[in-house]
Amino acid sequence: MEHELWFTALLNKLLGGPAAALLAAIGLPPADPAHPIPDYISMEILVILVILAGVLLLRRGLSVENPGKFQHIMEEVLGFVQGTADEIIGHGAKRYVPMLGTLFIFVAACNLLSLFPTLGVPNSELKIEVSPTGLIQSTLGCALAAFLYYNYQGFRQHGVVGYMKHLCGPMMAIAILMFPIEVIGNLGRLLSLSVRLYANMLVGGILERVFGGLVPIGVPVVFMALHLFVSLLQAYIFLLLPAIYISMAVAEEH
């Protein structure tokens, strides 16, 4: 097996047996039974563990009169997510804030992970180091979560038949034309969400390796700064677009 990250090796040592057994049980036996967990999944698990640890730390120190620094920062982040949701979804946005906030924080943390020295997922065929969201598998997972969530909220708001009627457009007369267009449009949203994030992160890794290879002093820092900016922007987009899709799915015509 090629060189894997230290955290992946640790996870494989601890959970390799059960993970391989689980994969074999669902019919997808791993290529290398001693190392069933690939690098990008272990990096995403690391992000989840860090977020969980941060949240537990936050909960212990919560106070109304005397908030600490971490609480201030997280209040700002929460206010930002809630403000965006209120602006886009309007009435009843509070119900969707947990999912939107999770998407935002998870995608931002995964994107920023490749800035840390040993935590970049190596891509052997392109010889670059990339963030866990630089693989189509993980961005498809995030996009699928958002897609299923906004459709579920649409079904919940309008009922199954009501949501189908919602997809038929404003008039029943053109429903036979509108319904396939709407379905394909929704699938296109799934595709665009995943590919946008994947391509941005992949391109960031490629640019840094190409230009950093040409001029190894000073230029990688510029591309790391660009990657920092693009990571946060793409996380904001992963907050904004699902919010827009939710608002369109639960919209009440009046």
Partner: protein
Amino acid sequence: MAGNHLLAEFTTPGPVLAGQGKGGKVRRYLLMGLTALGALLVAAPVFAQGAAPEKTGSMDAMTWVAITSGFAMAVASAACGYAQSKATVAACEGLARNPGARPGIQFALILALVLIESMALYTFAIIFLKVTVT
């Protein structure tokens, strides 16, 4: 140029040393030439790429894929750049006309830029799926 700070006498170069005026002409050209040479030296690894052995006269499918993907990416990037510039122009004009509407205009601009950018990136993604190094 002429600094009023305390160390102006020591840090402001005289005309000849700065390459200005008649006396500094040679020095100016020398400085420009050496800077250009230094910039070329920094990019020296570019010349290190060895030439791949080519089959003379045969253009197989992979070569065509490589050529067309180059043109496709160039066209996609050019169109994306043009569209983003139009969006930015509209945003700047709206902002100049009505600075109070900044949150809304800024939001619309960022959203538009990211969506247009993703169009060029779809082309890039296709290229990376289809063009393989043989």
